[in-house]
């Protein structure tokens, strides 16, 4: 059965250009991978990064896992689409693909 909060996750990612589900906030990340992902997004030209702290909004974490079937955080969404975690956004940044997604 789908987690009842999946709708909340979906609403969040569809109403913001860039969303990161992370530990801590973009200003005060509580995990190295989350911090790095935020830095990479900024470097790639993201103007506003909407952060969701999975440590303070715990039930959302389970819903997120149900929604993406991806077991780790951070998880980054651009234009409502799940793009990946820290490794993937970093690699996409190095290839210039992340910058493309963040244009417009």
């Amino acid at each position: 059965m789908t987690h009842p909060l999946v709708a909340k996750v979906e609403e969040k990612v569809k109403s913001n250009k860039v969303v990161i589900f992370m530990k801590g906030t973009p200003q005060f990340p509580q995990c190295g991978f989350s911090a790095k992902a935020c830095q990479v997004l900024k470097a790639a030209g993201a103007e506003k990064v909407e952060g969701v702290d999975v440590l303070s909004d715990d039930p959302l974490w389970e819903a997120l896992e149900d929604y993406t079937k991806w077991p780790t955080v951070p998880q980054i969404f651009i234009d409502g689409k799940f793009v990946g975690g820290c490794d993937i956004v970093t690699e996409m940044y190095e290839r210039g693909e992340l910058q493309q997604l963040l244009k417009h």
């Binding site: 991806w70 689409k81 799940f82 793009v83 490794d87 993937i88 996409m92």
Partner: protein, 85 residues
Amino acid sequence: MTPDQLKSKIETLGPGTRADIMDMTGTQDHYQAVIVSPTFEGKMMIEQHRMVLELLKTEVDSGEVHALTMKTFTPEQYKKLVGNN
């Protein structure tokens, strides 16, 4: 799982798939893989990674492969990358 076993398994992903495996810790469970496959064509990076993880589901779930860092390329992307060096 030995590097050779991992390589063979990943190369069953599709025709023309090539995998280069590095044992990061010498313990045969933390690996880095560079994977070039025509199967990746037209797929987002997250989808490419998912394809590989799906293929290795048993080994990842059992902990036989504890960590796998991947770099995935289509043959065309890889050619471009190597050409630049």
